[in-house]
Homo-oligomer: 100 residues x 2
């Protein structure tokens, strides 16, 4: 498996972002539908400030994208690749659970 160093670093940065449970939960919350920040706060059970900090990191890495609508900002997973990859991995984790 050959990969250039900068691509490897880029990839590891994405993994690092997914490597925090709170942030992962935030991403999963808006994986398949748009969600306002407030809704994400409620669903993720994290503070408003923390959610906002994490969303900024996810945004910077293009893992989510925002859409403004009046006072609300809707977030959603950035693209299909992210959606598919994460769904696959979750399914895998859940299948393993069955085997135990």
């Amino acid at each position: 498996m050959q990969i250039k160093t900068d691509q490897l670093v880029e990839l590891s940065e994405v993994f690092k972002l997914l490597g925090d449970p709170t942030r992962l939960r935030i991403l999963l919350t808006c994986l398949e539908q748009e969600m306002t920040v407030g809704e994400i706060v409620t669903a993720s059970e994290a503070s408003q400030s923390l959610v906002s900090h994490h969303l900024r990191l996810l945004r910077a890495a293009r893992l989510v994208k925002p859409r403004r609508e009046g006072r609300h900002i809707y977030y959603r997973a950035h693209d299909d690749h992210i959606r598919c990859t994460l769904k696959d991995m979750i399914e895998h984790v859940q299948e393993e659970e069955d085997m135990v």
Copy 2:
């Protein structure tokens, strides 16, 4: 996307492990063939001690598995799921590169 908290934590722990470039490089080095620790040290350009520390974490998370043969210990990615998932993501990163 519904997922139990402990599964989410488990998943984020895997991502966290992949989230360090040195460790990711180590894993990729033994993704498709068995490699001795020494070979991994050379290929990853990290110190013997550091490689060993990282291998321990990867082992504990069942991302790699060791096989002893005399004085050498061969490591390899633990299973096909890990191999496939990582190969897919690397291909994706490399395709994105082409588009820029």
